[in-house]
């Protein structure tokens, strides 16, 4: 028998819109607020999200073993955001985010091996060990950015390039609830709206900017409305289909040259802000447990697929086993790959330049730098 697709007809995403005319547009254009999930898509989304989850949990482990050091901001709980966005855009579209970037690095095409080896600072890492957790790049993926909010104007700039080159591509620029108050974000909103840049500004609202809840940081917690003159959509960020459909709508809107759009994805992170934050001093363990049991994005997808006979329990288990292998293999690689060679310390200062000399720690140490 064929398990081909699932057709949702009921109110599948909470569409809170800041412009009444937007509501109307969405109702008429998105086929009665429904989405179609095929079996292939379902399995693919499950596999991708579960891989992200397992990868982050492995990173947690390696960090506690002191094999990963420095900053490590984990994404578990928010997988539906990254997966839904990737499912709603094309590989040729562009994406930029802040430092909680491992999930996006994966959905944008970098292997788990290369991500983990970058976290452990080895030569096989996607940035050859020179970037670390917050500075991973891929084609049409501009990191990984450590300075809160700086990635948003950068994303608007990528969108400008898309418009300039007339390539019908869009840029997704992500930021958190903590960053949402940054002045440069409003500067980006202004220019994007003025010049009708094809930029989708997305606030991943996981309720906490480090240890500060949204109520304590923001005079207005309606982040989807912060764009003021820019239409905004609020979306359930724990439901991968909601995210996907919302992104599709937003991408079409931008591609049609109507200008930017703001989106708020309501989501949740299970870990603290980073590995040095236990994450329970500003919220209760009960709260974390409740989200895990009631709104976990992977569990929700799995249950939907199982209850609609789109996949069997065995199939899901097989995928899990497979993912476990992938993660183990990646972790092994990340642990055993050698560190970057010292003679490459000063490389990559300038692009397409002749080799040059770089001063070492004292005047007698002259190091070589090649592009």
């Amino acid at each position: 028998f064929s398990w081909t697709c699932l057709f949702y007809t009921t109110h599948f995403y909470h569409t809170l819109l800041n412009k009444p005319e937007m509501q109307y547009e969405m109702e008429t254009s998105s086929s009665n607020l429904s989405a179609v999930l095929t079996r292939e898509q379902g399995l693919q989304y499950y596999r991708t999200m579960q891989t992200m989850r397992r990868m982050e949990l492995k990173a947690d482990q390696l960090y506690k073993q002191k094999i990963i050091r420095g900053f490590c901001h984990l994404y578990d709980g928010q997988e539906a955001c990254a997966m839904g966005i990737e499912a709603g855009i094309n590989p040729t579209d562009h994406l930029i985010t802040a430092y909680r970037a491992h999930g996006y690095t994966f959905t944008r095409g970098v292997s788990v091996r290369e991500i983990m080896a970058e976290l452990t600072g080895r030569r096989g890492g996607v940035a050859k060990g020179k970037g670390g957790s917050m500075h991973m790049y891929a084609k049409h993926f501009y990191g990984g950015n450590g300075i809160v909010g700086a990635q948003v104007p950068l994303g608007a700039g990528v969108a400008l390039a898309c418009q300039y080159q007339g390539n019908n591509q869009v840029c997704v620029a992500l930021y958190g609830d903590g960053a949402a108050n940054q002045g440069q974000i409003f500067e980006s909103f202004n220019m994007a709206a003025l010049w009708k840049l094809p930029c989708i500004f997305i606030c991943e609202n996981n309720k906490f900017g480090m240890g500060t809840s949204v109520e304590r940081s923001s005079a207005s917690t309606d982040y989807f409305k912060r764009g003021d003159y820019i239409p905004g959509i609020k979306v359930d960020g724990m439901d991968v289909l909601c995210v996907r459909e919302a992104i599709k709508f937003a991408a079409d809107y931008c591609r049609a040259g109507k200008g930017p759009i703001v989106m708020e994805l309501e989501t949740y992170r299970y870990h603290g802000h980073s590995m040095s934050d236990p994450g329970v001093s500003y919220r209760s363990r009960e709260e974390i447990q409740e989200v895990r049991s009631k709104s976990d994005p992977i569990t929700m997808l799995k249950e939907r697929m199982l209850s609609n006979n789109m996949a069997s329990v065995e199939e899901i288990k097989e995928i899990d086993v497979d993912i476990r292998k992938v993660i183990e293999d990646a972790a092994q690689f990340a642990i055993s790959d050698p560190e970057p060679p010292l003679d490459e310390l000063c490389n990559h200062i300038f692009a397409n330049d002749l080799p040059m000399e770089v001063r070492g720690t004292n005047p007698w140490v002259k190091l070589k730098s090649v592009s």
């Binding site: 930029i96 104007p153 400008l160 500067e187 003025l194």
Partner: protein, 372 residues
Amino acid sequence: MLHCWDGARFPPGGTISIPAKEFNLGFIRPVNSVSHGLRVFTCPLVNVRDALNQAMDEELERDERVFLLGEEVAQYDGAYKVSRGLWKKYGDKRIIDTPITEMGFAGIAVGAAFAGLRPICEFMTWNFSMQAIDQVINSAAKTYYMSAGAQPVPIVFRGPNGSSAGVAAQHSQCFAAWYGHCPGLKVVSPWNSEDARGLLKAAIRDDNPVVFLENELMYGVPFDLSEDVLQKDFVVPIGKAKVERRGTHITLVSHSRCVGFCLDAASVLAKEGVECEVVNLRTIRPLDVDTIEASVMKTGHLVTVEGGWPQYGVGAEICARVMEGPAFNYLDAPAVRVTGVDIPMPYAKILEDHSVPQIKDIIFSVKKVLNM
């Protein structure tokens, strides 16, 4: 009186016919002053502003990925008219007026560079770059390294730097030292029209972030540009200093407007038999230590001259490098810096005049170093 760098003298006024070949060899250069402009019928006088304008025009024409953005660059023709005529010629797509939001538009410019364009981001003055300095350093300068070569950032940030006239403290700071401090950036500081034209072309063609420090008081100063310099592919290599005047007794190292003061001081000192070698840095980072060292090894004496503040400045770096290298053994006296006074820039003319290096300060320092 017009002075030639090799000591010959020409009567004031009138035109002199000089074979183009001889002129191009650089034997004769006008002094940094309109009244001493040497008019040669083969070579036009081009002021720094027009040199910058022509350079941008040619590069915009050459490569359609190049575009200019900044405050008032388009319809206003540029706050200092450096981009005059460009919007009329190239339109809204390539010459973009931005709102007064430096952090935002500098970030947008860097993002456009990430995605394959070649932006020229103008700061109305470099003082305003402080609003956007995070984008220049953390987003532009460091990205190629952090990405291990995956993400180049071909961007030029340009604008007037340093002191102007009567614009007071918040509009008069020199940023050569701050930006010159950072790996991943190239930092250039042209003096004359040839520098401005050649370095701006080189900067735009460079695949890396370039901080281009102009000088407002130099915009209106004309210089002769030879045929070679006016060629469309003329570039001045970034990272190479130029010896503007040969000398044997002492080396003066400078950048931007102060190069002209050094040349003026050299003329005066020549009358007393002191021959100064004047080195025009052209590039702050990477610093051309070889040219500086070769000169110091010849003259045995060093004075650096800059408009910026002394502490942790360009001159401080030059002195440190000379100390650490082979030239130290050739020094007959400690190297010394002539700099702006270590205060925020005052407004009143008499105070402002005494806050920046004057020709007499250079002459005084040279004589001190030479123990005259």
